[in-house]
Symmetry: C2
Subunit: 702 residues, 2 copies
Amino acid sequence: MDISGFVTSIITSLSIFFVLLVLHAWLSRQSRNAVIYYPSKLLKGIAPPPQQGFFPWVREAWSVSDDQILQHAGLDATVYMIFLSSAFWICMYTAFFCLPVLLPLSVTDRYFESNSKADFTNFDKAAMGNIAQKSPRLWAFAIADYWLTICTLFVLWKSYKRVMDLRLRDQASFKAKPEHFAVLVRDIPMVSIGSVEEEVDRFFRRLHPTTYETCIVVSNVSEARKLWAELESYRRRLAHAEAVYDQTNIRPKHKSGLLGLLGQTVDSIDYYKEQIERLIPVLRVAQSEVRLKHQQGAAIVIFNSRSAAAMAAQALHSEHGNHWMTMPAPEPGDVMWDNLPIAFVQRTIRQLAVYIFVAITILFYMIPIALISALISLENLEKRLKFLKPITQQPEIRTVLQAFLPQIALIVFLALLPMMLLKLSQFEGIPARSHITRAAAGKYFYFNVFNVFLGVTLAGTLFQSLNSLIKDPTSIVSLLSESLPKQATFFISFIALKFLVGYGLQLSRIIPLIIFHLRKKFLCKTEEEIKDAWAPGAFPYATCIPSDMLILTITICYAVLAPAILPFTIIYFGLGWILMRNQALNVMVSKFESGGRFWPHLHARILAALLLAQVTMLGYFGIKKFLFVPLIIPPPIATLIFAFLCKKSYYRSFSVSPLVASCEDVKEVPSTESIVKAYMPECLIPKRDFIGKSDFENQEES
Amino acid sequence: MDISGFVTSIITSLSIFFVLLVLHAWLSRQSRNAVIYYPSKLLKGIAPPPQQGFFPWVREAWSVSDDQILQHAGLDATVYMIFLSSAFWICMYTAFFCLPVLLPLSVTDRYFESNSKADFTNFDKAAMGNIAQKSPRLWAFAIADYWLTICTLFVLWKSYKRVMDLRLRDQASFKAKPEHFAVLVRDIPMVSIGSVEEEVDRFFRRLHPTTYETCIVVSNVSEARKLWAELESYRRRLAHAEAVYDQTNIRPKHKSGLLGLLGQTVDSIDYYKEQIERLIPVLRVAQSEVRLKHQQGAAIVIFNSRSAAAMAAQALHSEHGNHWMTMPAPEPGDVMWDNLPIAFVQRTIRQLAVYIFVAITILFYMIPIALISALISLENLEKRLKFLKPITQQPEIRTVLQAFLPQIALIVFLALLPMMLLKLSQFEGIPARSHITRAAAGKYFYFNVFNVFLGVTLAGTLFQSLNSLIKDPTSIVSLLSESLPKQATFFISFIALKFLVGYGLQLSRIIPLIIFHLRKKFLCKTEEEIKDAWAPGAFPYATCIPSDMLILTITICYAVLAPAILPFTIIYFGLGWILMRNQALNVMVSKFESGGRFWPHLHARILAALLLAQVTMLGYFGIKKFLFVPLIIPPPIATLIFAFLCKKSYYRSFSVSPLVASCEDVKEVPSTESIVKAYMPECLIPKRDFIGKSDFENQEES
């Protein structure tokens, strides 16, 4: 990618960003847009702050503390901020040395000029590729390798301590939550006498005589849930019809057949009321049947103290390790009920199948991507879609397209992937939604590294590379080391596009704004529907964390090879930190809270990126015939030892509750009834006001 | 190794065995040898059985049941029997197919005859090497591969269930043991205020208010232990001197200087009494100091119920995973006190250092062994030690030496190793002696497989092999497959030697018998000393389990390649089973009991041997150009899946106590005082009768 294309792409991204920034500043001051720009505050009943000065949101995001974010947005969001700030500081500290020392050394050397075989640009001269072989300047790069390692390990160590402190403060918070008292039990062995509920009761009362309270057995609620969903939809439509009637005084009508296109025309309000009254008894019956007939082999067990629940979650109950498997219960809203009854052997086989499928997809995804990259290069497009020629021949448009087409194709293609990975992770049988999201994010990360990073790097020599990889797996080091430096400019414009356009869209929320106003004008009639229209999502962790990790991985690998990438990443993470703090304070509302459980995985992947960089450096020093290559071996070993010590020291306290936290005094202790109610699936709750009047006092209780 | 040498070695081994068998039958009938042949029974107060018929011990060992062995010798011994019988049945079932089908197919083929390049013996014709390439007879060997896999997995599965049943019966036994109520806590953080004991008390009373009883803090007892050992030795010498005086009426004298050779001549009885009276107050002071000054960062914590202890042992106590690390306490006699205070980071570094050292030793031990094998071949010996020539020129002696020298050299050289491995395992910081023994046995097993098995196999082409291994690690498969079949005869005579001579010595206990009678006649004067002289050891698990595993590994690898090895191994394990049952019933007395904890490791290694065999078969089928090689891929995959499922289902219940076992009712519950007394190190017990009179009522209590 040549210099002019590169500069064009940067300037274009910057312009788009400034446009979006100004749009945000203008639109957010209008009160009718407050629900788009401050939904989180509004839902908590806090008024949007007064709009003074330029970009007031920056000042707010800057000045608020970690604890305030913790209270407002939860632990997950705060840990994500710590991740962004760790990434920022890793790049910043590394840049302190790499930029002032390595850049001048690279630019002033003459390897490319004297070696006429290599094709290079002026930009490539600012990278390690320009150093002559066996040059004494390589010593600076060796020192930079150590410096990068020290900075990364230091920042990670401090961040881990910060996260642990936050977690402890959060767990010992003065308000005890229902999940602290609950334990998830799976693989309950089937019994011939009595119900599952009696079996669970008997088992736990024997093992925990003084602390066991009650249990909720997981049941097959598909029938009840279907009926409940139908009733809910009728209720909403009834409310909509009544609102239309109130507003226009015309009783609405609709066709009752397929898709509203066929069948009789009926009066909507009466029709919906009939349907609701018809279905409520059916739901009652389904609810009572669930308890009698459809109990499955898993349960939520409730104890009367937090430390009893914590110990029960960690203890082995049965000598057969695959029966009565216990683990801490997820939050009530986080439970993936359908996955709980899946037995151990089936879960294992499903996991194996998913891993194999994902591995094949990752390894062979490169082929469609490479094909698409080749197909949509500008020349090819012009050949095949000749009508585009007049447009593409314009020199300005041409430069923009040439700069952007490959990146845009990659980004669109990659957008299809997260949905598929989420579905696969769900299929594995994971019991908590937050865990499914984490698993999907993990797969997406590996995908990103293998396909975007390594794939783009090796793309030019793809089949050649695969061939030599199969013959000799250790040649990957030299392959990477040769190819990486050439792709620096591509990645820099990739990063720039992602943050300038991506973050610009995030901040300005243009698309949600447009959709909201369209829906409000044309589709929504009731208060509830309007609220739905502007309801913000949670943080899109499954996609934004892997993207951030990819950019951090790219940067760490290039930090010594081509330090010019560091300023861009510093701006990416700096901007991201400010922006995401604004989103956490004002916009996002999390559906579930995992207690920062993704931190150990982020930590491990940053260390993996560091190892990848160190191994690549080893190879590259070999290519440059550095005389003291064994000096480059200690950093990877130090990284591995650090990773092992961190894992042994901290990892376990992220998956279970340490007793010191469970034994802290709390002001409020939820009652057993409230815990049971929190965990009861919605479709099984006896009383539910579908019509708006309490018709149920006469109905039979389930 | 040629046929005549092979046959000679077998015949010699058989003769030695029969001689030892007859010796045992004759010597064990004599009542003065009863303490050598029936120490276990005598210590429990059971009279030796009447000696009738030939080999009455066989009848007894055969007819006794698992439960009787469990009661008499403990769970470890019973699990070892199950291991021997599993090995026996794996070989037996495999032989049902391999012997009648594969042997005739191999012998009747003509590969070696038609291929004059290979040097072979008649024995080699009875192996897979004799099958022509691409022969349809290879199908039988492919079926044998599957048959071997099915037999091994089936036997292992049934054995695992047997072991689990035994463990559960043992754990829920009607007599609760002290270690069921105790938890070992390490990495206690150092405090500035108050003693460690107060800190532990406070911490556990807060987290376990209703179940915590008391704690024993691990202290630096080296001073007290030294004094106590000195006092013990004086006590024994005093008893010896008094016994001499009683028997001969002469007051014994000895020189009090170095090694009894220098210094004044003193009256023994008075001298020892003086020493004891001098040292007792010093011991008192040391004991009280221990409590005040030398407390270290580990403790045994005692609870008032077994399930509370079980849950506390498995729960995470502190958010810092490397503080307050809890685990189930070992048996009182099993605790390795010196290793308890070693902190987590130091343990990790020690483990890393030991693993690296062991890996280097394993990889490079081959070089000294190969050198020694070359040096002590018969020809070399004759060249260098010419005076041996007249002896070695005798044809009978020559044949024997030629047959045995390599094997004997190997066996002697290997005998030095276990001691070193035990010391290394102790250095790792493992808290329980039984665990140290297991760790040493594990290292010894890897050593055996790499050096004896692979080393002997590749010995001829050692440096060539290493060279190609470094270039291409996957060539190990073809190397193994080419070299293994040639060594079959060597291994058969190795197995024969080990069981015929080794078991013969075990059964006849010639060496302990001779040592006992010598000591009794010349050295022992007191009852206690006589008892010491015949005190039997525990099962030498650290050496006999790796040897058995080595033989099983060799056999599983050869089961399809050269099935002629199977009958020898069947006899080895059959004989071993009978013999070891006799030893368990009559001879061995275990010092500590680990509850069969080595079973998962044995299970894993048998599966590893199976995988090694399957991978070798894959390579060998490739060499023989079998057309359907992909058919050989499912067995390794099935083995891996089986290993994973077993580990997930059963492994954890071997390291911790499942709650179902802890909640079983027991008849006897030990009091807290008795538990504390069981765990108190001997050197800290206040009252101890060194002189034989209670002098201590006037002494100050510690």
